[in-house]
Every structure is written in C-alpha cells, then in structure tokens.
Symmetry: C2
Subunit: 136 residues, 2 copies
DNA sequence: CTAATTGTAGTAAGAGTTATTACAATTAGA
DNA sequence: TCTAATTGTAATAACTCTTACTACAATTAG
C-alpha cells in the first residue's frame, strides 16, 4: 500500500474510541491528524457503511462509535482500506507460449492470497481497544 | 506495493533458473514477460548488484544465474523490490497536543515492522528452486 | 433565523509507474 | 578489421493514484 488510509482510519477510530459518548466533529478529528477535514469526512463515510460509526448532521453534529472497540480488529481495518497486494501486481500478459509465462500468474496469485491471509492472521488478535490503550 | 517489480523479478529469475547454462538476452526474457526490454535490463542491473546474476555485453551477450536457485528465497526477492509497507504510510504531522496524535506514529511504525517480519517469515521457506518446479 | 456541521463534487499539484526512443559502449565472429 | 547483436542508461511521455483544497447545498440545534 502506498497511501495513508490505514493510518488515517486507525487514528479516527482511536479518537472516537477514547471519547465514546461525545459527538466529535470532522474538523476536530482533522486537527488531531493534521489533515484536511474533507478527507476525514470521506473516511467517516466509509466507516458508516461498515456500521462502525454513526454520524449526525447539522449544528452540534459529529460522529460516534456504534460498536464496542473490542469488536473491531486491525484486520477488519486492513480489509476495509486495502487497495493493493503486499507483493504488488502481476504482469498483464505473460507469454502463453513460454512455460514460465503460461503459469506464473496463477502461481503468483495463489501466493498473494497466502500472504494476505498471513497478514490478516497477524492483525486479527489486535483489537482497536488494545491499540487505544497505549494512548494517554 | 503497487507495482509489478516482484512479479517481474521473479519471472526473470525463474527463466534464468530454467536454463542455468545459457546466456539469455534481455529481449528474449522481455518476450516471455511481454514487457519492454529496457525494464528487464534495469531489473537485471539490480540483480547483478545483488550478486545473483552475471551479465555479458555485446554480441552473444546475455545473463545467467550466478547462485543456485535453492539459495534464493522469495523473502530475498521481496527485500530487494519492496518500496512500501504493507499497511501503507503514517500521516506526516499528527498533532502532538493530542494524546492519540502524540504517540500514534510510534505505535504504527512498530506495527509495520511486525507485519514486515511476518511476511518475511511466510516467504522465507520458499526458494526460487521450489517456485520454478511448478513450470514445465 | 442563524450558525455550525455533514456530504460530496470538482479541480489541481505532485509522486510513482511503465513504455518507449535513442544512442554510446561493448563484444563475438566472419 | 568490420558488422551485427547486445547491454547500459538517460530522457521523455502518458497514465494513474494520492492528497489537499474550494465550494456549496442540505441539515439541524438552539
């Protein structure tokens, strides 16, 4: 991955988890991450689609966690933001007349799945709750 | 990662491993991957720096493996081509006045290292030799 | 009614990726 | 020695992705 979405979403969720009873505005959250509030609103929109967050419009609006922080794992977050494979992409048209070219994409894609599952395994046991405990 | 370098380098090494006694030209290799020969020459240049490949210029030139294919693991290849972390990048300037912003980059970077090592662990037991056995 | 806030479209700057052209340097073999 | 094939590498272009930012309609509390 070559973006900050995992970091941004994890930061947003951490802040929400620290104040589970307050409606926090996108401007306030953006001020902690020091990024543009529009980015925060876009990520909050995907977090709503996940069912993790509820958002209220208008004055005194903002967002809140809808799910206990021990029910969200870092693996869940990774699944939500992942947009590329750990080992990158396969080449589009390897030559089918070559013994290697003919089969390499099958082999690589199998490997990509295996590595993806390995990463999920390493993230599954870590919850948002345990991640947030480190901040005071 | 968001590029094809792992796939390309693995393809190049696989082809070299299949014909360990021949000098294979970048054009020939490029024809199997169906990418531009200049890309292949660039990757061959990094493979020479690794000490994995020897290249001969001029007419009848080309490249050959310099190391037995059971001494190169997919983890070695990943280390060579990796240019981003599995979980992406941290945000550049989280707010130090916020308890989360103050420490999140340390936490995330520790996590990134842990995931990197997990991926290496999953790739270490796979050699180029075993990978190449699948092609005929 | 007012002020604060979300939702979202549109645009722009910058970085990274791949393909491609071009050509000097090198080398085997006739 | 000459020729043809090949590597090494710089330069450029097209394309995609990422982030920042502006703008503004829609919503809502007080």
């Amino acid at each position: 991955m070559n973006n900050t979405r995992f970091a941004t979403v994890t930061h947003i969720l951490s802040i929400l988890a620290k104040s589970p009873d307050e409606w926090l505005s996108s401007d306030w959250i953006a001020g902690s991450i020091q990024i543009n509030p529009v980015i925060v609103r876009k990520e909050l929109s995907t977090l709503q689609q996940q069912g993790w967050v509820i958002t209220r419009k208008g004055k005194e609006g903002g967002s809140k966690l809808l799910v206990p922080s021990n029910e969200i794992t870092l693996a869940d977050i990774y699944k939500t933001v992942k947009n590329s494979d750990v080992l990158g992409k396969v080449n589009l048209n390897p030559n089918p007349k070559c013994p290697v070219g003919k089969d390499i994409n099958n082999e690589l894609e199998g490997l990509f799945v295996e590595i993806y599952e390995t990463v999920l395994g390493a993230l599954e046991h870590r919850t948002l709750e345990s991640f947030v405990k480190k901040f005071n």
